[in-house]
């Protein structure tokens, strides 16, 4: 069983920090869902709703940064507490970027809705569902410090990359065969690129989960580095 901090106020502050990060992460997930739903339904209202949600995530970023700085100043954390707070400082940036990418998708929706439909978007919606599933798995891994789940997230990034390349090629073929679709096709390609980037941020999140739980920094080295110990030798 995980031991609790002797200072219950510190325990509560760390718990609140994690809960607030998970809430922020879920808000960003809702933004992605709303943006892609707007894409599929050509719904300008939903697209504008997505843009409006970004301010709340930006506020989360500032508030979580402040919480981390206060915790560092007041508690001088060590070991896993220090790793957690350092990681939250990084994750808020990843999550804020996810919200920005959702906003970018919504902006492309507004561009696309100003013109005739270029194609069905069901396959883009499928890619979005895959990205969101993996992203939410990474959030769950963070919430429970589940290293096995985090490893799965990292491994599944290949699925997202494959979906991205398939959709990219599909749009490219359409633009080659019908030059009138180039402008709209580039917008759709941008959307799938944004989704692929969101998958990369989910991978970052999962890598940080492994660092918090085990003190093992696998960034830029991959899962195989876990076999070699944690000293960065």
């Amino acid at each position: 069983m995980q031991r609790r901090h002797t200072d219950s106020a510190f325990e509560a502050e760390l718990s609140e920090l994690c809960e607030r990060l998970v809430l922020m992460a879920e808000r960003a997930a809702v933004m992605v869902e709303t943006a892609v739903s707007a894409l599929v339904a050509r719904d300008t209202v939903q697209a504008r709703q997505t843009l409006a949600l970004d301010a709340r995530v930006n506020r989360d970023e500032l508030e979580l940064d402040e919480m981390c700085l206060l915790l560092l100043a007041k508690r001088q954390p060590m070991a896993s507490d220090l790793r957690l707070i350092a990681v939250v400082l990084k994750l808020v940036t990843d999550i804020e970027r996810i919200a920005d990418l959702a906003k970018n998708i919504a902006e492309r929706v507004l561009d696309l809705n100003a013109e005739p439909p270029v194609r069905e978007m069901e396959d883009v919606a499928q890619m979005s569902a895959l990205v969101l599933e993996i992203y939410r798995e990474s959030i769950a891994a963070f919430a429970t410090l589940d290293v096995a789940k985090a490893r799965t997230v990292i491994e599944r990034d290949d699925e997202i990359d494959e979906a991205y390349h398939t959709l990219f090629r599909s749009m490219l073929q359409q633009m080659v065969s019908d030059s009138a679709t180039v402008k709209r096709g580039i917008h759709v390609q941008s959307v799938v690129k944004y989704l692929e980037r969101i998958g990369d941020h989910a991978t970052n999140l999962a890598e940080h989960v492994i660092f918090v739980a085990e003190g093992l920094d696998i960034r830029h080295r991959g899962l195989a580095s876990q076999e070699g110990g944690s000293d960065g030798q």
Binding site: R4, T6, M78, A79, L82, R83, S230, D231, G232
Partner: protein, 279 residues
């Protein structure tokens, strides 16, 4: 094969050249090795089978909760523990390979090589600043004629106190502030030219500024001496030491490079203690 301390890596893989990477080390300093060290007060065992290597010219911090044996441990390193009533030691402590508990070893001579600074500054109350610095040499009859002034200045400079007291060397040591008194005690310990400096919570009675001065002093002494510091202040241990040893219940739990121990300790008991999940 190099020990983990010798690799001096740090789990975070900091860029080489980072000031955070490490304090200066003195490869030629006196190393200390405890092997199966046990210490007792009467029937009560306060240290159990402690085996650890302290690198020469480095600063090693010893941390742990009250009663864990950390002060007893360093008192075994200059044979002060055995001065207590009913106190005894078994096992081996080697200074550069030589067993300090060997039959030919004179404890008084040993304590010249292994100086100690205590929790409360304790300058001799009837002595001036100058007399305090020279007291160790005077008491052991080793003060050569004509060397006193040079030794006083050198020792006070080494203890970062010279500029503050150079014009009042004949004034009582007790007239100094707490932090200055502690640096005077360090100067006194350095005057006999030890190889090792043991510090038993040297800053616990000092304010943050005086503490910072002592820590700065430890930085400058690192490399010239082997320093072992007992502290309750984990941030202090993290700031001043190359290696940190965590003691619990009289036993050594973990000895590791400080950079790693405070970011990714290997033993869950260390993790619990340094994150405040203890007791």
């Amino acid at each position: 094969m190099e020990s983990e301390q010798e690799q001096e890596a740090g789990a975070l893989g900091m860029a080489s050249g980072s000031v955070l990477r490490g304090l200066p080390t003195g490869a030629d300093g006196t190393s200390i090795e405890a092997l199966g060290l046990n210490a007792f007060y009467g029937k009560k065992q306060v240290l159990c089978e402690v085996s650890m290597k302290i690198r020469g010219g480095c600063v090693t911090a010893v941390i742990g909760p009250s009663g864990c044996g950390k002060s007893t441990f360093i008192r075994c390193l200059n044979r002060m523990h055995e001065l207590g009533a009913g106190a005894r030691v078994t096992g081996r402590v080697a200074l550069d390979g030589q067993d300090i508990y060997g039959p030919m070893v004179d404890p008084a001579l040993l304590r010249r090589r292994v100086g100690m600074v205590f929790q409360e500054p304790n300058p001799f109350p009837t002595m001036s600043i100058r007399e305090n610095v020279l007291s160790g040499l005077v008491m052991t009859g080793r003060l050569a004629a004509g060397q006193a002034d040079e030794i006083v200045e050198r020792s006070l400079r080494a203890a970062a106190l010279w500029e503050e007291v150079r014009d009042k060397l004949k004034e009582p040591g007790l007239g100094l502030s707490g932090g200055q008194q502690q640096r005077l005690c360090i100067a006194r310990a350095l005057a006999v030219e030890p190889d090792v400096l043991l510090m038993d919570e040297p800053c616990s009675a000092l304010d943050p500024i005086a503490t910072a001065r002592i820590e700065e002093l430890i930085h400058t002494l690192a490399g010239k001496f082997t320093i072992v510091i007992v502290t309750h202040n984990m941030q202090q241990a993290a700031r001043v030491s190359h290696d940190t040893a965590f003691f619990l219940g009289g036993a050594l739990v973990e000895l590791a490079p400080t950079n790693r121990l405070f970011t990714s300790p290997r033993d869950s008991r260390t993790e619990d203690y340094i994150t405040g999940k203890f007791g």
